[in-house]
């Protein structure tokens, strides 16, 4: 059951992945990559449940954090042309 859910989420990733590659605009890509990140968090959580290892939630947390930072970096660069 959980496995099926995981597969579906991963499959859904294909849609955003298409957007991420195709573009055409920067914001399409930024959003798509961000969505990939969030989906990854979900899949991680699911895998953690499947394997019955709670540690996976730690990783999911890191993903969420890092995804946030990366997105900020992308947006800041696209808006101001720099990171400083």
């Amino acid at each position: 059951m959980l496995e099926a859910a995981a597969i579906i989420v991963v499959l859904a990733m294909a849609l955003v992945l298409y957007r991420a590659i195709k573009g055409p605009m920067l914001y399409d890509r930024a959003l798509a990559v961000n969505v990939i990140g969030t989906k990854t968090v979900v899949v991680l959580a699911l895998i953690g449940f499947i394997y019955d290892r709670p540690y996976f939630l730690d990783i999911a947390l890191v993903y969420a954090l890092i995804n946030f930072i990366a997105t900020i970096a992308i947006l800041k660069y696209s808006e101001t042309g720099g990171l400083g």
């Binding site: 496995e3 995981a6 597969i7 991963v10 499959l11 990733m13 294909a14 992945l17 991420a20 590659i21 573009g23 920067l26 890509r29 930024a30 798509a32 990559v33 990939i36 990140g37 990854t40 899949v43 991680l44 895998i47 394997y51 290892r53 540690y55 996976f56 730690d58 990783i59 890191v62 993903y63 954090l65 890092i66 995804n67 930072i69 990366a70 970096a73 992308i74 660069y77 696209s78 042309g81 720099g82 990171l83």
Partner: protein, 185 residues
């Protein structure tokens, strides 16, 4: 199992897209996604510590650093300029093929080597038999760490880790000597 296949497929797609994209920012972003997916894959393969690191480093720090570099250089890949009108155009054309040849050759060697490898996820693979079981059996009594990876990293092969930290420190100094202009003190 199915998830693995899909993820592997995605990873390859991301790699191709990231390499072939003209917009460098897009390329970097896809590279970030590539790292995330790779980390996901590694979680599937039970290597939680590596996935943890790859998520933090590959998807996070590397992306930020790449963007930082982009912000100080140029966002788009320039069109490959024709390197002058050669007298022998076919020669330049062949020269262009050399990298492809090298890559193919490397791939061929790898494939040749892989043919004799134990199958993927084979429990009897020699890699898992000789040294590894010792760590799993002994790390808790000998080091007190229940995370075997940490036990090896910090204790059995602690010296490698010292080297690893030295590498990081070296990288820091390298960037300082390259980019910093004014110095205090």
């Amino acid at each position: 199992m199915v998830i693995d296949f899909i993820l592997l497929f995605f990873v390859v797609v991301c790699a191709v897209a990231s390499v072939s994209m003209k917009d460098l920012l897009g390329s970097v972003m896809i590279l970030g996604a590539y790292s995330l997916l790779m980390a996901l894959l590694w979680t599937r393969y039970n290597s939680v510590d590596v996935a943890f690191t790859e998520a933090a480093v590959g998807a996070g720090i590397t992306t930020v650093l790449l963007i930082a570099a982009l912000s100080r250089t140029f966002r788009h890949e320039e069109d490959p300029e024709k390197p002058g009108q050669s007298i022998f155009p076919w020669l330049t054309r062949i020269a262009r093929l050399i990298p492809l040849g090298v890559v193919m050759l490397t791939g061929a060697v790898l494939i040749y080597g892989t043919l004799d490898m134990p199958n993927f996820s084979d429990p009897a693979a020699p890699a898992n038999l000789h040294v590894a079981p010792y760590y799993i059996e002994k790390s808790v009594p000998e080091t007190g760490s229940i995370n075997f990876v940490t036990a090896i990293l910090a204790s059995y092969r602690g010296y490698d880790t010292l080297g690893e930290v030295t590498v990081i420190f070296t990288a820091g100094i390298c960037v300082l000597i390259l980019l910093r202009r004014r110095f205090h003190g």
